[in-house]
Amino acid sequence: MALQFASRMDGLKGSAIRELLKIADKPDVISFAGGFPAPELFPVEGLEIVSKKVLEEDGRKALQYSSTEGFLPLREHISKLMEPQSLKADPDQILVTAGSQQGLDFCAKLFVNPGDVVITESPSYLGALNAFKAYEPKFVEVEMDEEGMLMDKLEEALKTNGNVKFIYTIPDFQNPTGRTMTIERRKKLVELANAYDVCVVEDNPYGSLRFEGEIHPAIKSFDTEDRVIYLGTMSKIFCPGMRIGWIYAAPAILNKFNLIKQGADLQCSTIAQRECAAFFDMYDINEHIKKIIDVYRRRRDVMVNAMKQYFPKNVSYTYPNGGLFLWVTLPEGMDSTDVFKKAMDKKVAFVAGEPFYPNGGNANHFRMNYSAMPDEKIIEGVKRLGEVLNELC
């Protein structure tokens, strides 16, 4: 039969990058391409204890349907988890989602008509761009420096574009650049959102993984007009496999998200939510996060030191204070896809930069992940990459 697809699917063509990543996904390749948390830090033993408890004490409830908004004790833990970012969230203003990826999909579904404008950092998170693309927006990119989005450029974008639905930003240890937005700019961003009457989607998967310095208040903490939508996730501090994230937003917006969640999949897994909540009851999550931070900080240092040693001088890279990624910039005019091909010959992989720019271009960058690999492998991988770069640059 001749099948016809919705036009929204046109933007979701299997990307070349996914094909390249498949090649990278071989056991003998040292891959800096993923965004996986370090598996050796997953709390497997704690979960064994917690799972037994949940099923023994509340098995029938754990295996039954439950409410769309999510398990209340879990939402209370989520509220506490956000406190260090100066947020005081009423658990009723939290909706549990299937990872923050589902939150991204919901934001586009709620706001975007075909042709509406979504403002993003340039570059921005690939998974978010793809989720938004399904709703056929026009992307307007705002240039960044080491302190995040440039506010004068943001204002210009707001001034010159009608139909802006929201500004999408990852203020802490941004994916892909690892950069963090300063507190001053966070305040300014809210001011601009107020002035131009647009929403803000603050995606914050890495905020609590800060290696040094003070945790920054979330953009949401400066929100005076209920227009900031905060997305969070358990993926980087607990585990990604259970697919637990959340949306924290004002009631008028959250009610709509609730309705969307009903249509999307009714609710998140009851048993996974209860196990997650029970884990937070029994263990100190902040202790666990500290362990993750110690490991990732060391891995960042190992990577940056190796880059200093092996990369040519005309290649620069960011120095993230947290999170999972850093961003490499090649000399102008170079294409990181060429580097990728050569690197694959030496069995080392990364993600080429161009797909992180919604409107393309900027091929002279690439993203490196340091969270999911032991020190020796990081050094060996960077060394091989350095050989390729020395040849090409």
């Binding site: 919705a6 295996l63 439950s66 706001f111 496999g241 009714l266 048993i271």
Partner: protein, 395 residues
């Protein structure tokens, strides 16, 4: 602030209130509920699940907690594919996509296939959450009558020819809400009509395994091959709290699109639950477990029908289910099911009036009664309330 939302979200949603009320009642212990579609928790294999969780975490803990693939856990997909032989379909693991319950599959089909105003076809009445989900994509909804024998083939032929729906969403076994099942003859007739059309059949089958009387028929995929996509779920057989459903799609182009959309929606379904479920299915005999559930539900259906005969006034009629979880009752002439429902809820009983199951009809006389999730005492007490409520409305 006055935020400006997308057009798809500005449409009124009357079905949503009903789903919400049902889910909320599930959490309120004092109410007797014939309203939901909840499996009976006494049927949940808690001990076996405990063993499965322990095994998965011990043997493959890291894999169960890490990111995973969009299609889903291979051993689980292989198990699902193999089971299709029972309803006359050969399927492979590659043709299965794991979803967050079958609800997500509804959303995926709509997202991937529908442009605004595209025609789609559903049974009349149909599953309310399907109506609700499809509406978000702004299609033109057509409906076809459901009779005791299944879909009205004459009307179906007419619609296929004149409206050319993108897809026909049908629940041929123990339909929600009516509990009706297509006869073999109807299946064959409908399949031959569909074959001549360019309409995809989406066959939803959450209750097919819950047959406690009589013989079932083949899946439409047996007749239609890749013109039929099948949806399934473990919600009614093992546990809804796991949120594991699936799509079996034999058409590769469509499957790739469904997968691409699933990936941007939520990357993949909870891998921990997928692995636990696969472990449970490997270590236990699902059919043995199903026998227990079927016996339980058959008994409960009989208790409910006996209570209906005892308490409901003359002029009330109902379908006699051969499986599934629902009885579809019709109120006496001149009595609206919504009014009965409102009177009943004040007396502590939740029922769902037929209205939200219809695209257009309002003030209908039909209502859906769920028998799977109440005790015998609750069924008796609830039916007494329902009888009183109907009598009040007859005055």
């Amino acid at each position: 602030m006055q935020f400006q939302i997308s057009e798809r979200m500005t449409k009124p949603d009357f079905q949503g209130e009903f789903v919400d009320a049902i889910l909320k009642c599930a959490a309120s212990p004092d109410m007797i509920s014939f309203g939901g579609g909840l499996p009976n928790p006494i049927s949940f294999p808690i001990r076996e699940m405990e063993d499965a969780v322990a095994k998965v975490l011990e043997k493959n803990g890291v894999q169960a907690l890490q990111y995973s693939t969009t299609a889903g856990y291979e051993p689980l997909r292989a198990y699902i594919a193999k089971r299709y032989a029972r309803i006359g379909v050969e399927a492979t693991a590659d043709e299965i996509i794991i979803t967050n319950g079958s609800q997500q599959a509804l959303d995926m089909f709509a997202a991937v296939m529908l442009n605004p105003k595209d025609p789609i076809l559903l049974e009349r009445p149909s599953y309310l959450a399907a109506l609700q989900t499809f509406h978000l994509y702004d299609p033109t909804v057509h409906t076809v009558e459901l009779t005791e024998q299944g879909v009205n083939c004459e009307e179906l032929a007419d619609i296929l020819q004149n409206v050319k729906p993108v897809f026909f969403y049908a629940i041929p076994n123990f339909q929600n809400p009516t509990g009706l099942t297509y006869t073999v003859e109807t299946r064959e007739k409908a399949a031959s009509l569909l074959k001549k059309s360019n309409t995809l059949l989406i066959e939803d089958n959450p209750y097919g395994e819950l047959r406690f009387r009589g013989e079932g028929g083949y899946s439409f995929a047996h007749y239609l091959g890749e013109q039929c996509c099948m949806m399934g779920t473990f919600s009614k057989t093992v546990s809804p709290g796991m949120r594991i459903g699936w799509i079996c799609c034999k058409n590769k182009a469509l499957r790739d699109k469904l997968m691409a959309f699933k990936q941007v929606m939520d990357l993949h379904t909870n891998i921990f639950c997928q692995m636990v479920l696969a472990q449970y299915l490997a270590d236990n005999d699902l059919d043995e477990h199903m026998e227990k559930i079927k016996n339980l539900y058959q008994h409960q259906a009989e208790v409910m029908m006996a209570a209906m005969d005892k308490y409901l006034p003359a002029g009330t009629s109902y379908t006699k289910p051969e499986g599934g979880m629902f009885i579809w009752a019709t109120m006496p002439d001149g009595v609206k099911a919504v009014d009965v429902g409102n009177a009943a809820i004040k007396k502590g009983l939740l029922v769902v009036a037929g209205d939200p199951f219809y695209e257009k009809d309002r003030g209908v006389r039909t209502m859906r009664l769920n028998y799977s999730n109440s005790t015998e005492a609750q069924i008796d007490a609830g039916m007494k309330i329902l009888g009183e409520a109907i009598r009040e409305m007859m005055k």
